[in-house]
């Protein structure tokens, strides 16, 4: 069946999804119609013989039958394949129609009428389990949000037609023969079931690993207790179902009260249900997916209970102010319509969507719990409630209204709790694929003993691992274990333990450090111990004499320690003098030692000596001097340092990073110099980011405007240095987001133009894909400036996996984290799916048909004015201009002849040869 673009747009369905959507719709249509005929027949026959109050017994019988059906469904689910199960369920639906028709001819006992009406709920449950079981496997979380409304809408016209036809033909056929019409409908659903099952085969079957799981009931109970999301959805579902059962009961009582004649009664009910289904159909097809798109899950779910509260309050007021039977009936009718319509149009699809982040198996179990366990509970609760209140003779409209009000409030609370857990589950689903960490608990004496034992006997690597873990926490126990590691025979382990003593400032290690300085066989460890001791508890008496040590390591360590920690100016001057002597020594080894020492202290004044060494003929000394200048960033040193950047780019940049904030003005002015090569600009921007802090952020933000073509790189740098926008710069960040979204839309429109000649322009198309990826990354960086950085990182990681399911989860998280103005176009641009549909969604950002042909695309890329394209994309454009004889203005090619990038320059020369 061909379908127009506008209809697809209206339904929010993508072209590649349409085939399956229509099959699911028709499957649900025919099965829904069959069940509607069954309901009409059983309900009218029941009401013909019994009062409405007897419905309470039907509710209780329903609950027992539903549990039994859910139990057998669960058993079967684990024994047969999903496709066979669907066929079995459909056969049960058809067989029920025939058996009850036969029963109606011969059985006149009371139980038959009660069971028949209760059996309707079983058919409804089985159909639901089967249908949503299939749908949840066929679609991911994003698709389900858009499509569940449409595919399940088949049920509504079916019921509309079913109820309407029933009213018309019941006089001719009699109520019992409606069951035969129902049988026919179920039969007609078979071809569509077959087609859907074929599609399901191509996706991973959810029953494939069922054998690995325990008994059904145990698993269900385990899931119910272990999975918070399932538990909360189940409780919410119980509240909703109880509300619906009670409100329908109240409505039917009022109808029965108003219409004494059974025929009038049946017509009213059928008419009411038909109208309700028609409204539900319209809402489901046209509103549901858009409502979710604009409001999000939580707000969409709250609409129904909120309206219910308003209507029940109106009912109570009407009852108090003026008891008018007709008015009460209408308000109850309206409430029943609202709840019924919105429940099937919004609540059911959204609740199913909320379960999509669960694994396939959990999702199915959740669905079984909601439908197979909670629905029966709702019937049992409602049935018992009605029976008890009627027996106690305290049941009236007012009591029912108060109960409904209470349930509506619980309903809203349930929505908030479910939504909160949904968000957590979504994040967990994304992150659990990357992180898994076990930590030990130091408060546990057994664990402490085990660690201590491991420090004594473990291998070097094991002890290093333990130290690393201890280093991430502080506390007496952890410090004690670190000191314990100072006894380890391995130099590497002791060195790491010393580093931790210094980092965590463990004062208790003082006596151990003195002992190490005295006795440790390794000079390197003794040298380190001097510095650490100086850091945690400097004592001139111990450290100063070591300055005279014949051992260079010990001597140097003491000089550095005195400079860094001594409070005695004479000792400091002495240490400074010793370093200066080394710096001007004739022995290059002493100069080098002094430069290395300067890298461990920022104290003292050595400008002249350092500037002089910067021009030393020995390249190693020059590099060491550059590095030392980073630790002594006086104005003189920084000015000299930046002059050396072209000769020693890497070392100078490292030194500038070490100099931190002091080097920022020098970095900025160099970046803005015209003669600074592009690659060096990037390196300097990166260095600015590594310095970080408010001043670096301000410089980088300013450079976004001052350095055209470098926006994506600067944004990446800002992300790396954990930039967060504030009130002042948020509007600027938002303007950058808008700009990048327009870029994404532009590229998608280019792709749309190319897609018809994809083979010919495969390389260009690939280049545009890379552009799109870069824009996506830039946008996520920008989002991280405004929104929760961790969530955005998870979104980024999930998108990069490049799988449909993880992409859908990530896009869903964008939807929930980022404001709609940005989330909607972002999702449209980067969600998997039909290109044309995505372009349609972005049309507000991008005027249509700005690229009438490929020439226009190549011109846009090469003009490089609005958007800055990658070197590769521009090279592709230049290459295809020549290879495929595209007409592009010569100046657009010639401007690249002087490019500093060899690829771009060479391709421009190639292109210019004929243009």
């Amino acid at each position: 069946m061909k379908i127009s673009r506008s209809l697809l747009r209206a339904l929010n369905v993508r072209r590649d999804e349409w085939w399956l959507v229509q099959k699911l719709f028709l499957l649900q249509f025919f099965q829904g119609a069959g069940i509607a005929f069954f309901f009409t027949a059983s309900f009218s026959r029941f009401l013909e013989h019994y009062p409405v109050s007897d419905l309470a017994y039907v509710f209780i019988i329903s609950s027992i039958l539903l549990w039994a059906a859910g139990f057998f469904y669960g058993k079967l689910e684990h024994r047969v394949s999903s496709s066979r199960l669907s066929v079995i369920i459909t056969i049960v639906l058809a067989a029920s129609m025939i058996l009850f028709r036969a029963g109606a001819a011969y059985i006149t006992d009371d139980w038959f009428f009660f069971v028949m009406l209760a059996w309707f709920n079983v058919l409804y449950l089985l159909n639901n389990l089967m249908f949503w079981g299939m749908a949840s496997q066929l679609y991911d979380v994003r698709q389900s949000k858009r499509l569940f409304g449409v595919i399940s809408a088949g049920d509504i016209p079916a019921k509309f037609i079913g109820y309407s036809v029933a009213v018309l033909i019941v006089a001719i056929t009699g109520t019992a023969n409606l069951l035969l019409v129902g049988f026919l409908c179920i039969g007609l659903s078979f071809p569509f079931l077959k087609k859907v099952l074929q599609a399901e085969k191509s996706t991973k079957g959810h029953h494939a690993d069922s054998s690995k799981h325990g008994p059904v009931l145990n698993t269900i109970v385990k899931d119910f207790t272990a999975n918070i999301l399932i538990r909360r959805v189940a409780v919410l579902s119980l509240i909703v179902s109880a509300c619906i059962v009670l409100i329908n009961f109240g409505f039917y009582s009022e109808v029965k009260h108003a219409y004494k004649n059974d025929v009038e009664f049946a017509r009213f009910i059928a008419f009411f249900l038909a109208i309700a289904r028609l409204i539900a159909l319209l809402i489901k097809i046209l509103v549901t997916s858009r409502l979710l798109y604009w409001l999000g899950n939580r707000a969409a779910l709250v609409i129904t209970p909120l309206l219910l509260i308003i209507l029940i309050t109106a009912l109570l007021l009407t009852n108090v102010l003026t008891y008018n039977t007709k008015m009460v009936l209408y308000i109850f009718g309206l409430s029943a319509i609202v709840v019924d319509v919105l429940n099937s149009a919004i609540n059911s699809p959204v609740l199913l969507t909320l379960m999509q982040p669960l694994s396939t198996l959990e999702r199915l179990r959740a669905h079984n719990i909601v439908k197979g366990i909670m629905d029966p509970f709702a019937y049992l609760f409602s049935g018992l409630f009605l029976l008890v209140f009627m027996k106690l003779k305290i049941f009236d409209l007012q009591t029912l209204s108060y109960v409904l009000l209470g349930l509506a409030v619980a309903w809203i609370m349930g929505i908030f709790r479910v939504h909160q857990q949904y968000l957590k589950t979504l994040i967990k689903t994304i992150s659990s694929r990357y992180f898994s960490q076990e930590e030990f608990n130091l408060y546990d004496p057994a664990a402490r003993e085990l660690i201590e034992e491991k420090i004594n006997t473990g291998t070097e690597l094991e002890v290093l691992y333990i130290l690393r873990t201890l280093g991430s926490r502080s506390g007496t126990e952890s410090n004690r274990l670190i000191i314990h590691a100072l006894h380890h025979p391995s130099v590497t382990v002791v060195s790491e333990a010393l580093r931790l003593v210094s980092e965590l400032h463990i004062k208790e290690a003082e006596s151990w450090l003195s002992a190490i300085i005295e006795n440790h066989p390794a000079d390197i460890i003794r040298g380190e111990a001097i510095k650490v001791l100086a850091e945690i508890a400097f004592q001139d008496a111990i450290i100063v004499p070591l300055m005279q040590s014949p051992d260079a390591l010990i001597r140097n360590s003491s000089i550095i320690s005195i400079l860094n920690h001594s409070q005695v100016s004479l000792n400091i001057e002495d240490a400074e003098k010793r370093i200066k002597e080394f710096l001007v020594s004739a022995d290059p080894a002493e100069k080098k030692e002094a430069l290395i020492m300067l890298c461990e202290t920022g104290k003292g004044h050595f400008d002249n000596e350092l500037v002089s060494l910067l021009n030393d003929p020995d390249p190693i000394l020059r590099i060491n001097a550059i590095k030392a200048m980073g630790y002594h960033p006086s104005q003189v040193c920084l000015e000299q340092l930046i002059k050396k950047i072209d000769d020693h780019e890497k070392d100078v940049i490292e030194a500038l990073i070490i100099a931190r904030e002091k080097s920022l003005p020098y970095l900025k002015s160099r970046i803005l110099e015209n003669k600074c090569p592009a690659k060096q600009k990037e390196n300097l921007l990166h260095a600015t980011g590594r310095i970080g802090g408010k001043a670096a952020h301000e410089i980088l933000m300013a450079l976004i405007s001052e350095l055209p073509g470098f926006e994506p790189y600067i944004i990446k740098v800002l992300h790396r240095c954990h930039f967060k926008s504030d009130k002042t710069n948020q509007p600027f960040v938002e303007s950058l987001i808008r700009f990048q979204l327009i870029n994404a839309a532009t590229i998608l429109h280019m792709q749309k133009k190319i897609v018809t000649q994809k083979e010919k322009y495969a390389v260009l198309s690939g280049a545009l894909d890379l552009e799109l990826q870069e824009i996506r990354e830039t946008l996520l960086f920008l989002f991280s400036f405004i929104y929760d950085r961790d969530k955005i990182s998870k979104i980024k990681a999930a998108i990069e996996i490049n799988k449909k399911e993880t992409n859908a989860n990530a896009i869903e998280l964008v939807d929930m984290t980022v404001k709609k103005e940005f989330a909607n176009p972002f999702n449209a641009a980067f969600e998997f799916g039909d290109l044309e549909h995505r372009c349609d969604l972005l049309k507000s950002l991008f005027p249509k048909d700005i690229f009438p042909d490929i020439n226009a695309i190549l011109t846009d890329i090469l003009s490089d004015t609005k958007t800055s394209y990658n070197i590769w994309t521009k090279s592709c454009s230049l290459y295809f201009t020549k290879k495929l004889n595209h007409k592009v203005e010569a100046p657009l090619i010639h401007k690249y002849l002087q490019s500093e990038n060899p690829l771009l320059k060479e391709t421009a020369v190639f292109a210019a040869a004929i243009n």
């Binding site: 690659k679 890379l770 070197i871 060479e906």
Partner: protein
């Protein structure tokens, strides 16, 4: 021999050649365009030895035209054809070659030396990232093979 050598290839075309190789299929062209300038064109006559078993490996080869035989003594291990790569791990470390390579026909190859590659990696971390990705993919594929073999 010169009939094998193509007209002077553009860097752009070298990128396309790299992209057509199985090991770089997933690497973005933006990274390959950094690698392309390191490709040196080399011609070998049939029978010429490219390297011997036990030599220290310090370059990788891409076969543009011709065939290369990988062998241990007189035992042929493989005959590699156009768009195949060998010695790629030598870009990252300097282990000795585990087998010899000889031109099976007249060949036109691209050679990428380790030293300039290291320099590139130092200045362009994204190239290193791209290579790490390739290695991870290979490791995963090997793991999956090992798991499948153990089943």
């Amino acid at each position: 021999m010169s009939k094998l050598s193509p007209d002077k290839l553009l860097l752009f075309e070298k990128v396309l050649i790299l992209k057509s190789l199985a090991i770089f299929r997933e690497s973005p062209e933006t990274i390959l365009s950094e690698l392309a300038p390191l490709m040196q064109e080399e011609e070998f006559e049939k029978g010429a030895k490219l390297f011997s078993e036990g030599d220290i490996g310090d370059c990788m080869f891409v076969i543009y035209k011709g065939e290369v035989k990988i062998h241990k003594g007189s035992t042929t291990l493989a005959v590699l054809k156009e768009k195949e790569v060998f010695g790629e791990l030598s870009l990252l470390d300097s282990e000795t070659r585990s087998a010899s390579a000889t031109a099976n026909t007249d060949c036109f190859l691209f050679k990428i030396d380790q030293e300039p590659f290291y320099e590139l990696v130092e200045t362009r971390p994204e190239v290193a990232k791209g290579f790490i990705k390739i290695l991870c993919q290979r490791l995963r594929a090997q793991n999956e093979k090992a798991v499948a073999a153990n089943r």
